[in-house]
Symmetry: C2
Subunit: 195 residues, 2 copies
């Protein structure tokens, strides 16, 4: 129960430091996660509504309802974390289960690594690595078994996919080694020590 979906987590994370409008949330998230994973309003606003209902965030809007008042300010709703929201965030940041290294969750979790403790960081990186390794075997098995029933383009697509996953594994290996060698003094790295 109470499973936090990725989008909710991403919003909790981005509201950690300051309250923001829906529009700003979208821009920030787009900037942090890249132009892939774009996030449309059709996901954002319903998710914000759900979060308000769940008590995770609070809408401190300048309400435009001023019936006869002169200014009739535009509706701009700033969302901020509530206490339950804040504790849900840290709860979620401590979780290093399989859902942390899913395809759709990993990058969000990673972008919050600055607020994740060192042990959890390591477990997530390793989990992601082993997930990708499984895939690697699957694809290369498929490639071997496919040398009948091939056409050149399908094989090329497969080969390229394999290479991409291999790259990503190498990237993870580098990060894992960094984490391991950085755990000299700190064991609770709530902020990354180096840099």
């Amino acid at each position: 129960m109470a499973k936090t979906d990725v989008l909710t987590l991403a919003i909790l994370g981005i509201l950690r430091d300051q309250p923001l409008h829906g529009y700003q949330i979208r821009k920030r998230l787009g900037a942090e996660l890249g132009p892939f994973r774009a996030l449309s309003y059709g996901s954002l606003y319903p998710c914000l509504r759900r979060m308000v209902e769940a008590g995770l965030i609070e809408a401190s809007g300048e309400e435009p309802a001023g019936s006869s008042s002169a200014s009739s300010r535009r509706a701009r709703i700033a969302y901020s974390l509530t206490d339950p929201g804040r504790s849900r965030l840290s709860e979620e940041l401590a979780n290093a289960g399989a859902s942390s290294w899913d395809d759709d969750a990993f990058d969000v979790r990673f972008s919050l690594f600055a607020h994740t403790d060192a042990a959890t960081r390591l477990r997530i990186l390793e989990g992601r690595r082993s997930r990708l390794s499984e895939r690697l075997e699957e694809v290369s098995d498929g490639l071997k078994r496919m040398h009948e029933r091939h056409d050149a383009y399908t094989a090329e697509l497969q080969r390229h996919g394999l290479e991409q996953v291999e790259r990503e594994v190498q990237w993870l290996d580098r990060l894992i080694e960094n984490e391991r060698s950085a755990r000299g003094g700190e064991n609770n790295g709530s902020a990354p020590a180096d840099h």
Copy 2:
């Protein structure tokens, strides 16, 4: 109107050579496109129903309705292309518009390159390349503008994303060059000449 979605196209493509069951369609598609892009039954069966309704495919099932008959064979429904389905497929394979190099469509189109003519192949590859180039600029701009408001992990995520896209552009460059140099004799490569 009558915009063919990616899944429909993929199914048309996979049924081009032989009729298949839903289950087999799923397996084949999974094998051709890799373990990413998995395709669940919750998408497949509704899509098949839509396609039957649209007259693109035909369900030649051994019906299990035999009321009093002994065997009561299991329902296994083989789907095959109709004539309208076949012409929709070639129509779609000739289309080299922007929808051919979208993130979610490109790999499906590419996996059907063996049945796509040479000119269209080239246009799609080039379209995809320029789409990725836009992204490249976006991300590297973002990286530059982000050297304030950075933490080490977010920056690393960005850097890695950038590298992945760069790799893919190099891959496309190689493929484009191949296509160009292969168009010596053929101009209508309904089957790839080399191999």
